[in-house]
Symmetry: C2
Subunit: 343 residues, 2 copies
């Protein structure tokens, strides 16, 4: 097999996932060449990395976003940033990633190359390398182009850091790092059956540096989350449910772009149900809230950060929103039928 991969006109075929020479060629010519690092180049079926000292953090996410290219990002960078964020919100420093690809027969190698390049750039930007991986191929009609599952490993060195939903308690202040709903609206705007005009781009971004700065100054933050699928509403309800608390949110305080609000009105959805991929929700004691907000606002990914409400006692674990006109409504936790395959 002296012929090189045709990265311009070639397509994935079943041999690329069957463990033979074709798969080896795909890995050598495309993956190893892009994700250059010493661990991947060990060419074993796993990566061995030096000992680390501190609690270990592991998080995994499959990415099935549709379409795979959207304004502000693609499935490649999303799969890197998304898992880095899930590791980082525990208060950990993300160290390593694995990436596993499920490709559909017929998927253009040119698109795969574009996605791998995007992952490579994301790896360089974040300093978190992809150290091991896997490739499988399924028959045409048994997949949808490309699915990417990434798993992240991180470390919490400081024993004082105890970030967990179980620490959320009445009185805690709730902060968000910026505009809600950008990612979901950017992806929806490119769906074949919708395809509306908007200038909104996905907020897909790695949050670990912003989180590192918060944690360094305020190691006592109670809980952090990135409000992805289901948006802020799902995240707040999940936390309320798990921590057995209620919340009161001030609608006017929630940062939402005019264009996102307009698109949501058009689509008949609530921006608080729309996914984000580069936003942070922080729960902390009220005496730390001002400082956390300042740190967020001083960071490029937190310029529009705001304090949006407080945690309170409530056996019914309701998340309520006080509207701009003073009325109150319960922010319901949707079943989830509105926005499939958003990440």
């Amino acid at each position: 097999m002296a012929k090189k991969l045709d990265l311009i006109n070639g397509c994935i075929d079943m041999t690329h996932g069957a463990g033979g020479k074709s798969m080896h060629q795909l890995i050598e010519e495309l993956f190893l060449g892009s994700f250059q690092n010493e661990y991947l180049h060990q060419q074993n079926d796993q990566a061995v990395v030096p000992a680390i000292s501190g609690r270990l953090v592991v998080s995994t996410d499959s990415h099935v976003v549709s379409p795979i290219f959207f304004p502000g990002g693609d499935i490649g960078s999303l799969s890197i940033y998304g898992t880095i964020n899930d590791v980082a919100v525990s208060g950990a420093e993300p160290l390593y990633l694995s990436a596993s690809f499920i490709l559909e027969e017929g998927f253009p190698l040119s698109e795969l190359k574009k996605i791998v390049n995007s992952m490579k750039k994301a790896q360089e930007l974040t300093g978190v390398p992809v150290i091991t991986g896997d490739t499988k191929v399924v028959e045409k009609g048994k997949g949808d182009g490309i699915f990417i599952t990434t798993t992240g490993v991180g470390v919490i060195e400081n024993p004082r850091i105890q970030v967990s939903v179980s620490r959320v308690k009445p009185g805690d202040e709730i902060l968000v790092s910026g505009y809600m709903g950008d990612h979901g609206i950017a992806v929806l705007s490119k769906r074949q059956n919708l395809d509306f005009e908007t200038s909104i781009e996905s907020d897909s971004a790695p949050l670990h540096e912003l989180i590192r700065e918060i944690i360094r100054e305020v190691p006592d933050v109670h809980c952090m989350r990135d409000p992805t699928r289901g948006g802020l509403a799902a995240t707040l309800n999940e936390i309320a449910h798990a921590a057995r608390v209620g919340m009161m949110i001030e609608e006017s305080a929630i940062p939402i772009r005019t264009e996102v609000a307009a698109a949501c009105e058009l689509l008949g959805i609530d921006p608080l149900n729309v996914a984000n991929e580069g936003k942070l929700v922080v729960f902390c004691a009220p005496e730390h809230a001002k400082r956390v907000l300042e740190i967020m606002q001083a960071h490029s990914l937190g310029r529009n950060a705001a304090s949006i409400g407080t945690v309170r006692e409530d056996r019914d674990t309701l998340v309520e929103v006080r509207s701009n006109l003073g009325g109150r409504r319960v922010l319901y936790w949707l079943a989830g039928e509105q926005l499939p395959r958003i990440c």
Copy 2:
């Protein structure tokens, strides 16, 4: 949503992957209930585990085997054992797993429950818990029932253990832990377009205990692999290629069941190209070979272990097989077109 999941007649729908209340219900009622462990019950988007001391090992694999239930196993246990094996062959003790599910709309909850039960049993049997996970759903026709990506984390405590393809060198003896080709033939026997009669069952099994025993007595083994996709032929060729060596294999020494040989003849394939899911290939110095073989043969997963050949110098990195009649042939590395979706 007071109604419980209908695990008998219910099906996966798009809401089960959309981040809302339905997804939460699926996770609480099915996944948390099955994979009971303290880490998963933290209910954060990641798991935080205690510090470990030693080199860290990470491995990932997506599982797309078709059919998902086959003689001797299913996609659930396979996804646990497969990743445990990939971690263990580095000489590491596997500690934790993550599991990420990509489900197709319409997939029966009863089958999902069966698969999750199988994973639960595998977790109990191996002592390696699933500590974090993810669930995504794709539209009908955009997936194939269920794909499972698992990532394993392990530790190598003993600094003397240096298991790597780069240590394979001329003179090394090559050992296998038992019969070749069982898994592939078991899966193929249930393919819709083949469906032949055979009593062969998959060898799908966790190898970490067998490996632990080998490593304890012979920490100096050079390289270990589990010859999965592409079979023994792909594994030997990959290692020959990476280590820049050749190999001479004695055909009569390779353990192959009569039924597997017969099925392979029927299908027109070489059993050495057929996948295994519970077999080990070991490369070690000749002075250690006898002891490694004894350890294998004393273990239930290595009863039929055998020494099958030696590594030799060869710039062309050829893997040759000496036939029972004394002739020699090159064991080619297939492109991989024969056996898709075997794991």
